[in-house]
Amino acid sequence: MDVVKADVAIVGAGGSGLRAAIAAAELNPDLKVALISKVYPMRSHTVAAEGGAAGVVRDDDSLDYHFHDTVAGGDWLCEQDVVDYFVHNTTRELYQLEHWGCPWSRKPDGRINVRPFGGMKVPRTWFAADKTGFHMLHTLFQTSTKYKSIIRYDEHFVLDLLVRDNQVYGVVTLDMQNGVVRMIQAKSVIIATGGSNRCYRFNTNGGIVTGDGMALAYRHGVPLRDMEFVQYHPTGLPGCGILMTEGCRGEGGVLTNKDGYRYLQDYGLGPETPLGQPKSKYMELGPRDRVSQAFWQEQQKGRTIKTHLGDVVNLDLRHLGADYLEERLPFICELARAYVGVDPVKEPVPVRPTVHYTMGGIETNGRTGTRIAGLYAAGECASVGIHGANRLGSNSLVETVVFGRVAGEEAAKFAAENEHTDTAPLTQIAQESLDKALSLVSGERSESVSQIRNEMGDAMEEGIGIYRTDESIRKTIDKLTALKERYRNIKINDQSTIFNTDWLTAIELGFLLGNAEAMAYSALNRTESRGSHQRLDFTERNDEQFLKHSLATYNPDGAPSITYSDVKITKLPPAKRVYGIEAENAEKAAKAAAQNNGGNQ
């Protein structure tokens, strides 16, 4: 076993991991930062984010508005003190990216341009055409090469965390190219491995989005928080699930059913807004959970469109015109043409909801710290508390840099205050982890990795989809239990040490199965409807019982245990979550009430 020492080890080199590495390097250039990823950094799934990143810049906008949109959008399951920190730091981080070279789209005067996004009161979404994640990721990667103290371990698959007496001491990795096991001893570790959406069959995500870091923290006793909240993005391409950005609707695209009717007006998002005049929080600019739920309702009524790739609705962009589409949504045009053979300039694009984002994740405090000393988590893998029961579009890209930075600084401080421990006992822990991973490869076995993966993905879609019931969730849980049993008998055909993807996908499948269970049991026990978690058997939000975070705690012998923790409410008490004309009326009523109270506010 090869052993290297670093001060800070970062697992994952997407938006959060890269930002964390730069933050650690800038705060303390004497620290050695190991940046570890199972892919080259620019392959990380941040690359596929399209629409943009939220940060208040307009004169008619305010941090309070962003706070309110986020907390109400999350159906009050957000940590309000953390959201407050978040909205105060988004714009600074986006300017920082600008200074590093991110090619943000501009207004004619050369200042930053913003576009409207779903559930946001005022346009505040910074964008780089429709490749915002791509440009952010490449800017961060390229900028990271400036710092000599950042040492990259590309294509290193992390097999386990090294944890002893509730403190983390590094990670054990497999150098995929050279077939070498490399232990990276570190004083602090940041997990930045993204979501776990490959638990589902039909999703917008890359193949690498397998929740590795979530699973590792979970197995070491850190709870996964709010895992039942899985975001369906309303507009994915049928068949492949490729994302058509919410920016399509931000720019004025509309959704129609088989009768050409803009059905969102029937689901509390109306009245209908004029074509080409998108209005914040109305119609197509509703939040993702509501828009995806409306699709399901339309499908039940038989008003969606049947195709050979399944039921769809139409995303109509034609009225925007060829020139505007080419300027604002060039990638969308390229993707629709290539993957469904539709030119958005001439025809509406067929779309349907598809799994997109894991709102829950590794439980952290507001400074990204976990229950294990020295272990931090940031980005989609973490549940820092800003998304609640439903994430607003464009909050997650900026989350990667806001909390990536926090994690980098916190982990750097921890590393500076602690010494390396003896290496020998850690090597032993690493060896045990390796043996466990290797045990998958040996013996006479028969189950197929892909078969189990597909059955898991289908079961999650069926039982824990846009709408759930006790019965559907239990059926999925039974299936997951059976699949976990079959997983013990999984057959690895490839015996090579070099780039053995047969083995590595099997390890990833193990991660996914555990995360899927955390999602399922959290969903089962939450007998209410809130945000993206909609129960047909418990249709109302129940604050009395469930204004709480779910905590799924790993149990090596069976089902996770589900407990609850309090939600931090500071300045916005729970209220009815409304959009469209209802939101406008509620706001007017609140203003009038404030005036009647003598204008205190």
Binding site: R43, V47, S105, H135, T145, L243, V449, S496, T501
Partner: protein, 248 residues
């Protein structure tokens, strides 16, 4: 109704195979089936030991570059329907050492990207904007480098490049494009440093302007044009240095 196609993949496992060998598969496909989906279905149902890189499936992560009937392409943006009635031969990306099967060693390429200082180097003597302020950059200024910032680092242009094939010291299309991208950014002041790399024998002057890199680029970045523009800059640089010498 699904059609069928024969796909032959070049295999190589360094621990078992002395040299590369061919393995053929029959694959069913529909109008939407990409080569990447076909390879995944081969891996899932026929040959689990086949290794290749992939992730996003939407031509943005740059993982799945490979040779398709001799042409470098992204597997996820190559469709079987376009090869109806033919056979497909899949090989690892040309001009790179093979690690295993369709996985090539990209370290030389990545090192070149890092070498060219691919980040904003602030202009000397000019103050930077504060924490809550951007550099002013008009849409016209953005347009000067925008296209060249679209590279996904897939390595396809290196597989297409006849000069890189002959001389691995050549900086190559993507790295030279990235230099041009930063040099033309109105926020940047690092051009002088980067032009040293451009002017070297291994810089723009190694390019024989075949233009095949641009033909193969899956993202329309047009590296050949960035290199030609780089040659103009390099020539200007040369003339200026001559004048400087004369004036000394």
């Amino acid at each position: 109704m699904a059609d069928k196609i024969k796909i032959t993949v070049q295999r190589y496992r360094p621990e078992q195979d002395r040299e590369p060998w061919d393995q053929s598969f029959e694959v069913e496909y529909t109008r939407e089936t990409s080569l990447l989906e076909a390879l995944n279905s081969i891996k899932d149902t026929q040959e689990p030991t086949l290794s290749f890189r992939w992730s996003c499936r939407m031509a943005i992560c740059g993982s799945c570059g490979m040779m398709v009937n001799g042409v470098p392409k992204l597997a996820c943006k190559t469709f079987l329907r376009d090869y109806a009635g033919q056979e497909m031969r899949i090989e690892p990306l040309a001009n790179f050492p093979v690690e295993r099967d369709l996985v090539v060693d990209l370290s030389d390429f990545i090192e070149k990207l890092e070498r060219i200082k691919p980040y904003i180097i602030p202009k000397k003597g000019e103050s930077q904007p504060g924490e809550q302020r951007e550099y002013i950059q008009t849409p016209a200024q953005l347009e000067k480098y925008r296209q060249f910032s679209m590279c996904i680092n897939c390595g396809i242009c290196y597989a297409a490049c006849p000069q890189y094939k002959l001389n691995k010291e050549f900086l190559g299309p993507a790295a030279l494009t990235l230099i041009y991208r930063y040099n033309e950014d109105s926020r940047d002041g690092g051009k002088e440093e980067r032009m040293k790399l451009v002017n070297q024998d291994t810089g723009v002057w190694s390019c024989s302007f075949v233009g095949y890199c641009s033909e193969c680029c899956p993202k329309g970045v047009d590296p050949a044009s960035a290199i030609q523009l780089g040659k103009v800059e390099s020539a200007k640089d040369y003339l200026i240095s001559m004048f400087k010498k004369k004036g000394e």
